[in-house]
Symmetry: C2
Amino acid sequence: MPSKSQARRAQLRERLVEAAESRIAREGLGELRARDLARDAGCALGAIYNAFEDLNAIVMAVNGRTFRALGQAVSDSFDGSEAPVQRLIVMSTAYLRFADAHTNLWRALFELKMTQDGPVPDWYREALAGLFGLISEPVSQIFPEMKREELELMTRALFSSVHGIVSLGLENRISGVPPEQIERMIGQVLRQIGNN
Amino acid sequence: MPSKSQARRAQLRERLVEAAESRIAREGLGELRARDLARDAGCALGAIYNAFEDLNAIVMAVNGRTFRALGQAVSDSFDGSEAPVQRLIVMSTAYLRFADAHTNLWRALFELKMTQDGPVPDWYREALAGLFGLISEPVSQIFPEMKREELELMTRALFSSVHGIVSLGLENRISGVPPEQIERMIGQVLRQIGNN
DNA sequence: GGCTATTCCTGAACATGGTTCAGGAAAGGA
DNA sequence: TCCTTTCCTGAACCATGTTCAGGAATAGCC
């Protein structure tokens, strides 16, 4: 039964997500407009609400893509031969590069939930858990004496630290600095943490 | 010459900032409405735009207060007798406590600039510089061999790290954890950095 | 105090943008 | 082919920030 109707619906969904992604990437989440989206995707304004619950759902779909791409970029950044601290640095640098290259998309990842109050979708938690999983391996090598609970906290703490450094570092308006300096900050902190 | 007119204007500004602060504190920046503000402050809708350039300017005024209060909280948290690492931990804990106690106001500090693109007001940069100044003292004690430029980066890096830990830690929707755990994460990272 | 210019206040109106909906078009099934 | 269902359309609705014409209060001046 899902021959024409469903296919068209799926295509429309795809076009909408594509259009939203490109517009967010170009102009930021705050510039996303339902009417622009409809025009870009070649559909009527109301059709958006047939394909998606609301604009938010589209942004969520875009965030899903972004999160997958981010995870991929971090996964691909190391080959397993690095020493633990070095691997953390390499992964963090990949995180920074991704955030710097796709700032608006990356920022949308965090802007949406700040604003909204609905439940976080499963894929969101899972994607974050995946990232944490990548980090926890080198962390447990660096701190072999730590118990699991403490390791989890440390993993989270290091991710948050790197995220904070990247986040404020890319924030041109308050405390922005060039990416090389952000990279140096990440190195300073992670190396310092590894050298005890 | 600024007898009645100016006084009334000043009072209105004060009432508006007060009302905005209380509403942001209660419901978050996203729930701020011009019409609510006018009602709370007992003035007409249009009067807002006589006292302030726009809603943003009011939020900026609120942010100014918040930033001052935050700086005060951090300043007051240590007495100078602490060892450098301990002082960093104490200051960071004060930062966490403030953010936890006034989450919406604290978050407004960072939400606004993300969205907007105008120039950051001077007091903003100065307030941040003040915070950095508080941090740089213990940091330079911990790393006496570092050059000034490297110290500045490290100061910024540590502030960003703590900010990241607090920020993601208080984010109930992604990776929120109870404040005691946030405090433990801060301690883990800062102690580790001091112990080399 | 009275008079005029200025300044301020008011709330209706405007602009923008997300969302809905009645009516028509297309698809599915017989 | 015909009926049902489903979808699409864009005008309308609603919320919200901002502006503005007209009236009220104030300020300066004699």
